[in-house]
Amino acid sequence: MRRDPLAALSSPRRREIIRLVWTNERSAGEIARAFDVSWPAISQNLRVLKESGLVHERRQGTSRLYRADRRALRPLEAYLRGMWERDIDRLRLLAEAEEGNRSKR
């Protein structure tokens, strides 16, 4: 099952977890200790992050290690790139029209 990474990002707790594992790989225990909630609550959030592709899980012996996978942000990047390309092109037309009008005067 593949979840929508943007929907997964909509939870403040899940964003906190992602921040925690953004640059460093951390064990499930380390992640749980950073929060003042029960392990099942953290485990549930880790599962959603894993299913959305935002977090990668690796087993080492008996522990599970997590780190962020930024490739899951690609749909957001594509959306923003499309938005800016469209808007910047509009800016281009306006700025060019303004100088075109000025030079005709």
């Binding site: 990002l9 909509s10 640059t23 942000l73 957001l76 990047e77 390309e85 910047i88 092109d89 100088e99």
Partner: protein
């Protein structure tokens, strides 16, 4: 460049001077002609940016750098959007003269690499607090 996190870059040549292009980045009436339907802009470091995207959605942030006619940096996010909340990302626009025209380079970065770079959670919280204070003072 920020390691990890969001990384969007758009480069566009515009057949107009940097000064003309720059005016579209900092003057509210000109800004809303190319993005959204309305804009409140206070183009100085710490000054507020609020863009009415479609009458329902608002982009919110603050100017970080304003260097006419070369460069504008602002924080960026959407009101009531948990995935990209206000101030969670950075938009950097650089203008470089190119003959009689301008090369516009826009980079949209952050989320959550940008926060990480601001040295940990405390820094991030502080930043959000500062942003809230700036917004409330207007």
């Amino acid at each position: 460049m920020i390691e990890g996190g969001l990384n969007v870059e758009v480069v566009q040549r515009i057949a107009a001077s940097p000064a003309t292009v720059f005016s579209y980045l900092v003057e509210p009436a000109k800004f809303s002609a190319w993005m959204g339907v309305g804009a409140e802009l206070d183009p100085r470091p710490g000054g507020r940016v609020r863009i009415d995207v479609d009458g329902e959605h608002f982009a919110l942030g603050e100017f970080r750098e304003v260097d006419p006619p070369h460069r504008v940096v602002m924080s960026w996010g959407w009101e009531k959007n948990d995935a990209v909340p206000p101030g969670s990302t950075i938009v950097e626009i650089t203008l470089t003269p190119d003959g009689a025209g301008t090369i516009l380079r826009l980079r949209h970065l952050g989320l959550p690499g940008e926060e990480e770079k601001r040295s940990h959670e405390g820094g991030w919280r502080q930043y959000i607090g500062k942003l809230a204070a700036v917004l409330n003072s207007h």
